[in-house]
């Protein structure tokens, strides 16, 4: 084998960073991502704290660099199926799912998306909008090619008897329903896990009425709503009547630091709520935002200043309290937040136009499957266990297998990027010793 190879699982910002570092060092990298595009959770965010830098704008160059790098083989819409062999010589089977689109021919023009008549909820827009059976996840997708969802596509379900609009309209002739799942086998010296997080479903916290009260949404839904590339083009529209909210309540620790749900702190919610409150106030200067918090965990560079700015410049109000209940005003659909103001010690309620739940974050669903495949230990919360977490913070218990980003502990983007580069350094070191 000419070049030493590494497998990176997960195409979010952490996986991309590990892949780029190793590719630039001269290693061959296989970057496996289960969805049709790399980009991960960061691609869904509107802005990033504490600079309010546009998330996609800083991410896109890295995605494109990963997409065009001669040492990176992107395997999107793919999942790792089997890992065998030994450290330094892992044999990996990867299932590249049938996209029903020829990646080489597709130009990403999007005609198939326009013509496709079948819809489902868009994962990228967190259910706020529909997508077609033929879809490109988001405009900056890498690779910028369409995918046809076999669960929705009538052509696939009817075994070619119905529809076929995409075939008819694709000028590039890229639609290929004869595609089958392919198993790709690679041999790699090292493996990096960067599988990220999922969002904890807040409907389990019945007191907050998510799913029942229309104007109670999640932070990720808010993020899509306020984003220019979101379904409302950056306009805040409350689900019940489409009106722009005049006041907004953010509720922290929804499922985090909670004995009935997740005991841990999800680390990033205090800051993303602050950012979202700022963005809302920026879009609508008269809007009032309230943040109900437990402890304001603002520990990073410029975070305290960011909170001060939210309070002073954007008139965001921080209320130290964990609301006990949210009810709905039947007349106007307004959520009513019931809480005890712990610093002032009075029990009270507040009627707002919309509530944003800052839900806990949990390790991604595929983590369990991967850990079984690798025989890797997870901790009580299904995060990857790091045996010597102080001095070898990205080393798993298996030599040559490293973990970075949210899959091993809740953390923000810079910390994930740091760990991703650290994992790359450790993988490079591991393979240098394994001559």
């Amino acid at each position: 084998m000419a070049k030493k190879s590494v497998l990176v699982i997960g195409g979010g910002i952490a996986g991309i960073q590990s892949a780029l570092d190793l590719a630039n060092m001269g290693f061959q990298v296989y970057l496996v991502e289960k969805t049709p595009s790399i980009g991960g959770r960061m691609s869904q965010l509107d802005k990033t704290f504490p600079t309010n830098d546009c998330s996609m704008c800083i991410l896109a160059p890295k995605m494109i660099e990963a997409g065009r790098h001669p040492n990176i083989k992107l395997l999107t819409y793919s999942e790792v199926e089997e890992v065998a062999g030994d450290p330094g010589k892992f044999r990996v089977k990867i299932r590249k799912k049938a996209r029903s689109v020829d990646e080489e021919k597709c130009t990403g023009c999007g005609v198939c998306m326009q013509k496709c008549p079948y819809k489902t909820d868009s994962e990228f827009q967190v259910g706020l909008a529909k997508r077609k059976a033929a879809y490109i996840t988001f405009p900056q997708a890498v690779p910028n090619v369409a995918t046809i969802d076999p669960d929705i596509c009538i052509y696939i379900k009817s075994e070619g008897k119905k529809c076929g609009a995409c075939i008819k309209f694709c000028d590039a002739g890229a639609i290929d329903f004869s595609q089958q799942d392919r198993i790709i086998e690679v041999e790699v010296g090292s493996i990096i896990l960067a599988t990220g997080f999922d969002l904890y479903d807040p409907s389990g916290l019945e007191e907050y009425g998510y799913g029942k009260i229309k104007n109670v949404i999640t932070a990720m839904q808010f993020e899509r709503m306020i984003s220019a590339s979101g379904p409302s083009g950056g306009q805040l529209q409350r689900p019940s009547d489409g009106k722009a909210p005049k006041n907004l309540a953010f509720i922290q620790c929804v499922g985090s630091r909670d004995t009935r749900h997740k005991l841990y702190c999800s680390s990033v919610c205090c800051m993303h709520a602050t950012k979202e409150a700022i963005l809302a106030s920026e879009h609508y200067p008269d809007l009032k935002a309230f943040i109900f918090y437990t402890d304001m965990r603002a520990v990073g560079k410029r975070f305290q200043e960011y909170i001060a700015r939210a309070e002073q410049e954007y008139k965001v109000t921080y209320i130290r309290s964990r609301p006990s209940e949210i009810t709905e005003n039947p007349d106007n659909g307004n959520p009513i937040v019931w809480y005890e103001e712990t610093t002032a010690r009075n029990r009270t309620s507040m009627e707002v136009d919309m509530v944003v739940l800052c839900q806990a974050m949990v390790p991604s669903g595929e983590q369990k499957k991967l850990s079984e495949m690798l025989n890797l230990k997870l901790n009580a919360y299904q995060f990857v266990d790091i045996p010597d977490r102080l001095f070898h913070p990205v080393d798993t218990e298996i030599p040559g297998v490293f973990a970075c980003g949210f899959c091993q502990a809740p953390q923000d983007i810079p910390d994930s990027v740091v760990q991703a580069s650290a994992a790359a350094a450790r993988a490079a070191e591991f393979m240098s010793k394994e001559k």
């Binding site: 600079t51 309010n52 830098d53 920026e282």
Partner: protein, 147 residues
């Protein structure tokens, strides 16, 4: 002779200001001001140079002779130049340039030298406002017209 309504001239006049920013400090500071959404007057146009010391005095004079109302040079703080001593050169030149401007009949305040680091987004916004105010107070630059 009827004098123009000075009050109206004052409110209508929006000077056009050119700002040379060094890549390492001032331009980065301007970027930070941007990402921080510090709102500022619209009259400043930035030209990026690698070092404030790249800007020859005659280019400043040319800009003013062309009719621009003000020119700024923004560099790293003294002692923090990315190229060791470029901004010291800028400072010495600026000193001479100010005197030359006043000698040839241009208000020296039309030229402003300021230091802004990469971490000083708020300061960038503040110095731009301050310069815009100063130059607005001077009124339109008519120096070029006379020649």
């Amino acid at each position: 002779m009827k004098l123009p309504d000075t009050k109206e001239v004052q409110t209508e006049f929006k000077p056009k200001i050119l700002a040379f920013c060094c890549n390492w400090c001032a331009y980065a500071g301007a970027d930070l001001a941007g990402v921080s959404r510090f709102q500022m007057p619209t009259n400043v146009r930035v030209i990026r140079v690698m070092c404030s010391g790249r800007v020859p005095p005659e280019l400043v004079i040319r800009a003013l002779a062309n009719g621009l109302d003000g020119v700024m040079i923004l560099g790293c703080h003294p002692g923090e130049c990315h190229y060791s001593e470029g901004n010291y050169l800028t400072r010495r030149r600026a000193h001479v340039l100010k005197r030359l401007l006043s000698y040839i009949g241009i208000e020296p305040d039309r030229f402003q030298l300021r230091w802004v680091s990469a971490a000083e987004g708020a300061k960038f916004s503040a110095v731009v406002k301050e310069a815009a105010d100063k130059i607005t107070a001077l009124g339109p630059n008519r120096w070029g017209d006379k020649r």
